[in-house]
């Protein structure tokens, strides 16, 4: 389709040609392999590492959400921590006040976050670049305080936060709560990754990227930029909100202190390190965000922030286009 003409060649085209060139049986092998890799930790890791991995997958999902709006659509958001918080609170409120099951809260938090994202998308139409970044940032700063407000304290639990309980594995499955949580997370995250990668390779995905790369040309080709941008925001907020829901049950506790603006910045870091505009890169981003601060702390207790900064700079220097870029280069070399 002609809409992809305006794209830089190294971003979308190699990926799509690679996929098109793979025969069906090979793709099936990849899927089976992927499921095996995702399932292996259940049997290999002990519960603490499994919990860490669960959190990493959750962060990866949140980064994926951010990647849609910032990576693919070019609207910089420093406020995705707010959607993460809203998703977490939706699940926490319904689970702790109304004893809903986790699965039932998931569509609600997805819908609420999508609506919120859609609403935020409107002012975003008029704000570009740095201004949009600051506007979304203010959202991230405001949300923890709003959560403490008196008028909604009965639901949110104010500064005390809310407690909830991890869902138990269905009867008959010999899994511990931690193992089941990992399975749930992988299923939800896997579904979201699959849907997003399909979305990105579709007509709409190409339109999103065209809007990012050359809005005037995109509009001239008949794309409705306004609706594309607001919808990108909605989908993006929805996915980050789902990640927030998962995090609430994995941690079993939500409080305003859990969602400081640092969360938004971590997501942004994860996106850049993993690879801007890359679905697979988001997965690496999530792993980075969760594990690198621990590595930094293991190296130096006195100044973990400095070590983290050095690692981050080293990554940006060695992998200027993120993990995803590295993978692309390796793949390109192998194909030659």
């Amino acid at each position: 389709m002609s809409a992809s003409k305006g794209l830089p060649a190294d971003i979308a085209i190699p990926e799509s040609t690679a996929r098109v060139g793979t025969p069906a049986w090979q793709r099936a092998v990849w899927v089976v392999l992927g499921i095996a890799v995702a399932a292996a930790p259940i049997f290999v890791l002990e519960s603490f590492h499994l919990f860490q991995l669960t959190m990493a997958v959750i962060m990866a999902l949140a980064v994926l959400g951010l990647n849609i709006v910032t990576g693919y659509n070019g609207q910089i958001s420093l406020g995705h921590g707010a959607f993460f918080a809203v998703g977490a609170y939706c699940t926490a409120i319904f689970m702790s006040h109304y004893d809903w099951s986790f699965w039932a809260t998931l569509p609600i938090s997805a819908a609420v976050c999508a609506a919120l994202g859609f609403a935020i998308g409107f002012p975003a139409l008029r704000l570009a670049g740095h201004y949009l970044a600051l506007t979304t940032f203010s959202l991230a700063v405001a949300v923890p305080q709003i959560l403490k407000h008196k008028s909604i304290e009965d639901w949110t639990g104010g500064v005390q936060g809310l407690f909830l309980v991890k869902p138990d594995a269905p009867a008959g499955l010999p899994l511990s709560a931690d193992q089941w949580m990992y399975v749930v997370t992988v299923i939800v995250a896997g579904a979201c990754f699959l849907l997003v990668s399909n979305l990105i390779r579709s007509r709409i995905g190409r339109a999103l990227m065209a809007t990012r790369d050359h809005p005037t040309a995109a509009e001239a080709m008949g794309m409705d930029i306004g609706s594309l941008k607001t919808r990108a925001f909605a989908v993006s907020a929805m996915i980050t909100g789902i990640a927030g829901s998962l995090s609430a049950v994995a941690i079993e506790f939500v409080a305003p202190d859990s969602f400081s603006f640092g969360v938004s910045i971590s997501l942004f870091v994860g996106m850049v390190v993993g690879g801007v505009a890359s679905v697979l890169g988001s997965l690496f981003g999530g792993l980075f965000v969760l594990f690198v601060p621990n590595i930094a702390e293991a190296i130096s207790k006195a100044a973990p922030g400095v070590i983290y900064g050095v690692i981050l700079i080293a990554f940006l220097f060695l992998l200027p286009d993120g993990f995803a870029g590295l993978l692309r280069r390796v793949a390109a070399r192998l194909r030659r």
């Binding site: 002990e46 519960s47 603490f48 590492h49 919990f51 860490q52 959190m55 305080q145 403490k148 407000h149 008196k150 304290e153 104010g158 500064v159 005390q160 936060g161 407690f163 995090s247 941690i251 079993e252 506790f253 409080a255 202190d257 859990s258 400081s260 640092g262 702390e297 207790k301 973990p304 922030g305």
Partner: protein, 402 residues
């Protein structure tokens, strides 16, 4: 021949090993080591409290140099949680499941400890001497594996009310509190002492942590005919309250102020030092800047520790004497375990401290617990603002038995 001898030795070792293992099957405790876990905000908004963790590291180094405890060295593992509850959960699980600590000690932050409260109690891991003043850590029925250390906010309010009733039994009290866990603990403490007279004696108004000012609350208390004030709020609002009370010309007979908000730099000076003269608050630790303690043996002990193990620490920072006192309390408990460091024994000894006196506590204040008292410190001394410093007065007052 050598190989056979090696085999014999190895065989003997394997035979001996299970016996040792059986004697000490508590995670984190071996014949030579006891592992203690901790989380602290070394980064993030509350990183100023990180010195508490550093002080503990130095303290346990000192203990190890002096021979350790019951023949074992202490391994103190402390991680950064950035004052973020999800990170506290992750780091605590790492401590318990991966590092296999025997227990966690002095984790900091009300929200952080709330997040792991159920985890620790489900797993029956001692979660002891927390760095937070919330009253809920004293709930020995529901969370028997968790215990605080410092006087709770509720105890503090009880102490103010005891002083007030002795001085002015028919006061009309204006209670200004922040509408959260922290402020509500003070309301509970006032109720504990006044009982049925609460409704008649107290006019309580709250404010939100997000409010811009508390001017209208102060005015409503003044117009309500209150002649005593109790301010239970965080530093910014405390400074506003002190100034507002003075500026509207209200001169309450007593003005009690939570000891969370008594910093000279962030409360008294911004409010105007002369506007707060006579305000009463409370203390339980010796203030390292108070010249009265220059020749105090306890503070000398603390200064000697600082000079040797934390030579570049800020000697004015009250977090160091706090950390020293709490670490001494832990050593007292471990001593009492007499080499049996099972989790049950540790908890049993934690709940059986009889009038222990750490070096950095104000004379007369003792650490005491029992199976039905999980509030280790329940006494404080009052102090009054002179316009330039806090001056202690009167004797040590004990909170109520509730």
């Amino acid at each position: 021949m050598l190989t056979r001898r090696h085999l014999l030795a190895a065989g003997a070792a394997t035979l001996a090993a299970p016996a040792i293992g059986r004697a000490q099957d508590t995670p984190g405790v071996t014949a030579t080591e006891i592992r203690i876990g901790n989380t602290m905000p070394y980064s993030g908004p509350a990183s100023a409290y990180g010195v508490i963790g550093r002080s503990h590291e130095a303290f346990f180094k000192m203990v190890n140099e002096q021979g350790g405890i019951a023949g074992r060295k202490i391994t103190f593992i402390t991680y950064d949680d950035g004052y973020s509850p999800p990170k506290t959960v992750e780091q605590t699980r790492r401590l318990v499941e991966q590092d296999k600590v025997a227990f966690t000690f002095n984790q900091l932050g009300t929200a952080a400890n709330s997040a792991i409260l159920r985890y620790m109690n489900q797993r029956k891991v001692p979660h002891i001497f927390l760095s937070t003043g919330a009253d809920k850590w004293g709930n020995y029925q529901d969370t028997p594996w968790t215990i605080g250390w410092q006087p709770s906010y509720r105890t503090e309010a009880q102490i103010y009310m005891k002083h007030l009733l002795a001085e002015r039994p028919n006061a009309k009290i204006g209670l200004l509190f922040q509408n959260d866990d922290f402020g509500k603990d003070y309301v509970a403490g006032v109720r504990d002492i006044l009982g049925p007279r609460y409704e008649q004696m107290v006019r309580a108004v709250s404010h939100e942590a997000t409010d811009p000012t508390i001017d209208s609350q102060v005015v409503s208390l003044q117009q309500g005919g209150c002649d005593v004030m109790l301010t239970a709020t965080t530093p910014k609002f405390a400074a506003q309250a002190i100034r507002r009370v003075f500026d509207v010309g209200w001169r309450p007979a007593f003005h009690y102020l939570t000891n969370v908000s008594i910093s000279v730099g962030t409360v008294m000076e911004p409010a105007g030092p002369e506007k707060g003269v006579g305000i009463i608050t409370s203390a339980y630790l010796k203030d390292p800047t108070d010249p009265a303690w220059d020749n105090d043996p306890g503070m000398k002990e603390w200064r000697a520790f600082m000079a040797k193990y934390i030579p570049n620490g800020d000697m004015k920072d009250g977090s160091y004497p706090f950390a020293f006192g709490i670490a001494q309390t832990l050593m007292h408990v471990l001593d009492k375990c007499r080499g049996d460091f099972s989790r049950e024994t540790i908890m049993r000894q934690v709940a059986d401290i009889r009038d222990f006196i750490p070096a950095t506590l104000i004379p007369g204040i003792k650490v005491a617990t029992s199976p039905t008292n999980f509030h280790p410190i329940r006494q404080m001394q009052l102090q009054r603002w002179t316009g330039s410093t806090w001056q202690r007065f009167g004797s040590v007052i004990e909170g109520a038995n509730v």
